[in-house]
């Protein structure tokens, strides 16, 4: 049982799926969930192995670390891989069956994101990032309307710009250090990347990864794509895939930029993202747009959390990210029937469909952070982590203020919608009840959310274990890099930069 299977099985499935569909329609329909369940089982087995034996590194083709490409399987990567696979599986049940092209692209995205989470090589990360990006351009246009194509091309332009900048950043790092292996880079970083060139490379990679992670200056595609794409695609991109990019950012921060001021860059982009996202959501007049802007705000929160140095930041970031992975897809699934027109259409929904309105209210309250719901604990961990920071206190105090102000704004726009739903005596315009097919994923996600309310203790203990593992740079180096490479060689005298 090997981590490579997590990437290989969905990729193989994506290529074989159209052929299977041509041969036998019924087998084709059920092969996507079968592949996802198989992948989930492998991921859970790997999780068990990692818990008992500690993190593992897999050398591709048998070449050991700095020369060969490696996969590093640790709890943090596996957690995100499991979240992606499970989320995709739950969303599949909300799908219309038999959409071959969409399912192929979704399998590609799953394979790409598992690779992104596990990869321990910078250029490999770039390749997997491009696989995910190209599949998501196709998914963004999959509704087949003119607006979908236009939104997709604008998304493609921004994302391709970002990918090029990411590659430029990687090239700069290779020029300075002469290696692409994350463990080797982690070993060399204190001597070689603690300079302005290293910070420039980080800024370039941050902007490049930020396109997927909906970071502040490069998130203009978000409202367009999420309002024009099918909701399950919006749920997948905004709810699940966007966190993977931030996972890479936190890996870079922990391994290569732990001693520098790079995290302040991530912090300021996060603060700006939270402010702009929440303020835009306050003014948006369509449910899917509200959800898109609020997703920008939530990812800003994750960025702020990951910018807190040490395990406290990783705990908070992972908690907020996982919470958002549960809540946002569920909200998007509810928006399938209600989106598309002005918010005022939602007046009196509670009279028509009480169950879905209550689901919406619970999800919205959790996103705001009302105490018994998990959203509260996520925000609490963020504030606790930010208060314990010792260096650059002013920056983090500003972040705390912004998070609290953003919570107030969030409350304003979500409760305004809830009030519209529950207060009007009867609907003024005819409104659709969400289809059972869409309610099922929303309901199962809410069930998971409620389950996490009951098990806050064990979850927080395992999150702490995940974060301490992930923040341990020494362990990453020792697990991956053979000892003969852990002797600092004399810097090559060569006419590099």
């Amino acid at each position: 049982m090997n981590g490579i299977l997590l990437v290989a099985i969905p990729l193989l499935g994506a290529f074989l799926l159209p052929i299977v569909y041509r041969r036998h329609n019924q087998i084709g329909i059920w092969s996507t969930p079968a592949i996802l369940i198989l992948n989930l089982c492998i991921a859970l087995l790997l999780w068990y192995r990692v818990t008992t034996e500690g993190p593992q590194s897999i050398a591709m083709g048998g070449f050991p670390a700095p020369l060969g490409i490696i996969f590093y399987v640790d709890k943090l990567a596996l957690l995100f891989a499991i979240a992606v696979i499970l989320g995709t599986l739950i969303l599949w049940f909300g799908n219309e069956k038999g959409r071959i092209k969409e399912e192929t692209l979704i399998l590609l995205i799953v394979g790409g994101s598992c690779g992104l989470a596990l990869s321990g090589d910078l250029f490999n990360i770039y390749v997997f990032y491009e696989i995910v990006a190209v599949a998501s351009y196709g998914l963004a246009a999959s509704r087949g309307t003119g607006a979908g194509y236009a939104a997709s091309i604008r998304f493609l332009i921004l994302s391709a710009l970002g990918s090029s900048l990411l590659l430029f950043g990687i090239a700069l790092i290779y020029a300075v250090t002469g290696t692409l292996n994350l463990a080797h880079l982690a070993y060399l970083a204190p001597q070689m990347l603690n300079s302005s060139i290293g910070l420039v490379a980080f800024a370039l990679m941050l902007i490049g990864l930020g396109v997927k992670a909906e970071l502040f200056p490069v998130n203009t595609w978000v409202p367009e794509v999420y309002t024009t794409a099918p909701v399950r695609v919006s749920a997948l991109l905004g709810g699940i895939i966007s966190k993977l990019a931030l996972l890479i950012v936190v890996r870079l921060l922990v391994l290569m930029y732990a001693d520098t001021n790079a995290h302040l860059l991530l912090l300021s982009l996060g603060i700006l993202g939270v402010l702009t996202g929440e303020l835009a959501a306050l003014r948006a007049t369509e449910l899917r747009q509200v959800l898109a802007y609020s997703s920008i705000g939530q990812l800003g929160l994750v960025a702020i959390a990951f910018a807190i140095p040490g395990p406290a930041g990783i705990i908070a970031g992972v908690a907020i990210a996982l919470h958002h992975i549960l809540v946002k897809p569920a909200l998007f699934m509810l928006a399938e029937a209600w989106g598309g027109q002005h918010l005022s259409r939602l007046a009196g929904v509670a009279k028509v469909s009480l169950l879905s309105s209550i689901l919406f209210l619970v999800l919205a309250l959790s996103l705001i952070g009302i105490p018994p719901l998990p959203g509260f604990w996520a925000k609490f961990l963020l504030l606790k982590g930010a208060l314990e920071v010792t260096a650059n206190v002013g920056w983090y105090q500003m972040a705390i203020t912004v998070v609290l102000v953003a919570t107030v704004i969030e409350t304003a726009y979500f409760l305004r919608i809830a009030r519209l739903m529950f207060q009007a005596s009867q609907p003024q315009q005819p409104i659709n009840i969400p289809h059972k097919r869409e309610l099922l994923p929303a309901f199962s996600l809410v069930a998971l959310l409620m389950l996490s309310v009951l098990t806050v203790g064990p979850i927080s203990r395992s999150l702490t274990a995940v974060a301490t593992d992930a923040a341990d740079r020494k362990a990453y180096i020792n697990n991956t890099l053979p000892t003969e490479w852990q002797v600092l060689k004399k810097v090559e005298v060569s006419p590099r930069i």
């Binding site: 390749v127 003119g146 607006a147 604008r154 290779y174 369509e286 009007a424 006419p495």
Partner: protein, 152 residues
């Protein structure tokens, strides 16, 4: 200044110049086709930068003949492998972009990004004033209205 130093300066300036030119074209032009040309320039610049990183003056290709090391220095093969991958990815993305542009043109009859943004915004119920999408205010049923309806 030796001769090799000039080669490096020339190559790096070329790479940075192409990158800046590409970003400039992508930001300043409003025509989608021109933006894609900007993207091509940007990718070419990044690729040239990578190749330059692996370049060694007076070196030979990194190929072992009969298992023997060549007497001269060898260029770094890793950036060449990376650039090969990057070129392939770039071409794929450009082809996809052109296909999407064709579809967009069929739907809207324009390639101007500003006009496209305005049309998309209007479809999704947002007003556009001076190129800035502005949302309409959200009406909330006041308590007064609701009580009035109940009494009816």
């Amino acid at each position: 200044m030796t001769e090799t130093a000039w080669i490096y300066i020339f190559l790096y300036c070329g790479a940075i110049g192409l990158i800046l030119l590409g970003i400039f074209a992508m930001v300043m032009y409003r025509n989608l086709i021109r933006i894609i040309f900007g993207l091509m320039l940007l990718e070419a610049g990044v690729n040239l930068f990578l190749i330059t990183v692996g370049f060694r003056p007076n070196a030979v290709a990194p190929i072992l003949v009969d298992g023997q090391m060549p007497a001269l220095a060898m260029v770094d093969p890793i950036p060449q492998a990376l650039v090969l991958t990057a070129i392939v990815i770039g071409v794929g993305v450009q082809a996809l972009a052109l296909a999407l542009i064709v579809k967009t043109y069929q739907a809207y009859g324009t390639l101007d990004t500003k006009k496209l943004a305005r049309q998309i915004a209007e479809e999704s119920g947002t007003r556009v004033i001076d190129g800035i999408p502005i949302s309409l205010p959200v009406p909330v049923p006041s308590n007064y209205q609701i009580e009035e309806k109940k009494s009816k």
